[in-house]
Amino acid sequence: WDEPIIFELSSPGRRGMAVPEPGAEKVELPAGVGRATPPALPEMSQLHVLRHYLRLSQENLGVDLNIDVGQGTCTMKYSPKVNDQFANAIAELHPLQHEETVQGVLEIYWRMERMLAEISGMSRVSLQPGSGSAAIYANIAMIRAYHAARGEGHRDQVITTMFSHPSNAACAKTAGYEVITLMPDANGLPDLEALRAAVGPRTAALMITNPEDTGIYNSRIKEFVDLVHEVGGLACYDQANANGILGITRARDAGFDLCHFNLHKTFSTPHACGGPAAGACGVSPDLEPFLPGPVVSFDGSSYGLETPAQTVGKIRPFLGVTPNIVRAYAWIMALGAEGLREVAETAVLNNNYLMHKVLQIPGASAPWDQRRIEQVRYSWQELSEETGVHSEEIGVRAADFGVHYWTSHHPYLVPEPFTLEPTESYSREDLDEYAAILEHVASEARRDPEFVKGAPYNQTIHKIDPTPLDDPKQWAPTWRAYVRKHLSAGG
């Protein structure tokens, strides 16, 4: 089914939910304070609201339903169902309950922090940020506060790399820094010489990922860190995705001062169509005083909350995205040290196996002849030159077979990119099937490029004309705007 827009299902006088009667005298509002006209929300019975959203859900494709290896960089792994039950167990906790009434949840925070400290080699961890990008921002805020506290507020540059997530650049900019971006060298790695040229007294920090979205591990990472340290800057490791190196190598061991994890990547919390997520910031002892507050403390018998001395303040309300902290904690506890290493090794094996299969498809390549860790940014350049079919179109056509890939592979340095990341969750049979689908679509592209370009064919809707989305006269970011611009008599 292709569900109508919910407003089209409305009928006056219906309702999906009744509300308790006041049971007390009604309050009369002063003139102008009360709402004049009721909002034009849909009026529907409960079954009809439910049916609408259940149908929409069936028009969506979660990890649980498909071979979700095509969301490269996103680490779409299995989020165990039992962890959802755990997350629900804290649904009715209020974040400002007195500490004595939330010892269990505080203990989870505390234990989670200690485990992430061990995994990263850092000394303390904040679980407050609401996502990886928010954690990057928190790290930058700490970097800023650190330098300011040392009277080095003049450091106004942050260096990052082109293949690090755009949030590294964007958060630094938001926090007031000038951003210097290192381009990859001939091997697809950040250019050490470029860094050497970039660092100096204005350097506040280096924000770097390793392996970057290319999947290539930068062997010289410690040299990068050392170079920044030499000029008094801090080194910050974007470990959004640490899935391939859990238990193999740690941020602090390479000298980093700060790092962050995305709990919805490496630590399996569900992506939820785009959040809520959860981030974690790990810091070395020098940065501890600047952590966002509060953090959980433990006196040996009970847990409490404390605010670091020179805290950057609040990154978000309260302690963090607790349901996801609970899920990630349970996930680690289901695996342990040996299990985490098995996760990493299997993810890497899966990636190399899939790469082996994909590179056998005529027209597919993996730029730079390098080993890969957990993911690979591939290219359809060859196929595209031959057929005129673009990578995005191949991904859309693959959706007709119940899988797909995502093409928002900023930056667009690799031509006709597609990034696959099989994680540890998928079976060999899944990887074989995925590769077979890509091979099938590639052969379709050769046989009948226009057919592939016309995809999708068995999705809810057909190929979209995106023109109105960038035209202020036509765009419709809400239904009321659409009605006004496109449906009204004068429209």
Partner: protein, 443 residues
Amino acid sequence: MTHPYIPNAEPGVRAEMLAAVGASSVDEFYADIPAELRLDRPLDLPAPFTAERDLVRHMKGLFDRNTDTEEALSFLGHGCYPHHVPAVCDEVNSRSEFLTAYAGEPYEDHGRFQALFEYVSMMGELLEMDVVNVPTYDGFQASGTALRMACRYTKRSKVLVTGAVSADKLSKLHDFLAPDITVELAPVAADGQMGEITLDDSYAAIYLETPNVYGVVETRGRELADLAHAHGALLVVSADPISLGVLAPPASYGADIVCGDIQSLGIHQNYGGGHAGYIATQDHEPLVAEFPSRLFGIAPTKVPGEYGFGDVFYDRTSFAVREEGKEWVGTAAALWGITAGVYLALMGPQGMKDLGETVLARTRYAMNALAGSVTVRHEGAVHFREFAIEVPDAAALLARLRERGIYGGVQLDERTVLVCVTERHTIDDIDRLAAAVQEVVQA
């Protein structure tokens, strides 16, 4: 034993896969990691609970050490609210298809695009505004971004912020607006509303909240809008959407940017993990250009009558242009947006109105009930859901109430407690609180 989460850890499969790629061991794939960076020991982590039952037992042991707001009688609010969560909201947001999806293409994830488009559209109706973002992290972030949008739009770098705002949110604003934006604080008037201010042409925005941190409904929005506009500034209003079934939408009195948190709309308290932020404006291109968040819009398809969806004005974002984008965008809180949409669809106009009236009435009832034993602040003002009381020793009062199974409110300072009342609290609940407070105060 092959771990249930790792199918290819099975030794036979693993060996065959290694053979297929011509590797003798997984170590080969790690050859680029220098020896000195390799961890030469297992991670020092607790022994795992591989059996699901053992894990359940462990987690249950931890959860048993919490006493939640279903077990105690809670009047805690202050940014996280105990409204009733319809079962249909839980049903929809626990659907695997939504819960475990990423954020794919408009085809295989059409459902998500439509559900979020519908969410922003319903918010648009509630707010009487044409542009609403796909949720950002939370109301704090929404306020920070709304003010940054105002600064970018006006090309000014000073904002005037109501003093009737929570300390935590103020902390976020200070951190997030530094270093380039100056935050000035307005006084709080005796009636609990934002007090007298003067403005000049250097301000980008006046920032108001309603209901504010004391639960007081601001009634002078129109004046403030006129004042701001007279000086080329914007009026930015943070409002809880759950109040807008009965309270006038800020756009109706001239607000230019409206923002806030949607946790009230069908999302559990989640120990603070249920937040998502909204930002809304009218369809004014230069202001739309300042949104950092994703905006979804309708697009036609090859088939007439079909609705497709996509990103409106994507090139604003950091996804597209990195540091040249507006702030940053990442994984935020989409599922809560979908949930809030379900909530608004269930409630409809009548439900939102009824709910608002019940909250208004019960808040007033609670104020009256407590007024006999403690001082209720801002008694003359219109209150929605929260009000402050003054007591000799706030911490002691709350401790005594806790002994009685009541979380009496949030301590704002040594003598002030913020009490929250929603439609979840029955008249009996309120009477029980009032009786307990009286008992404690008179003891």
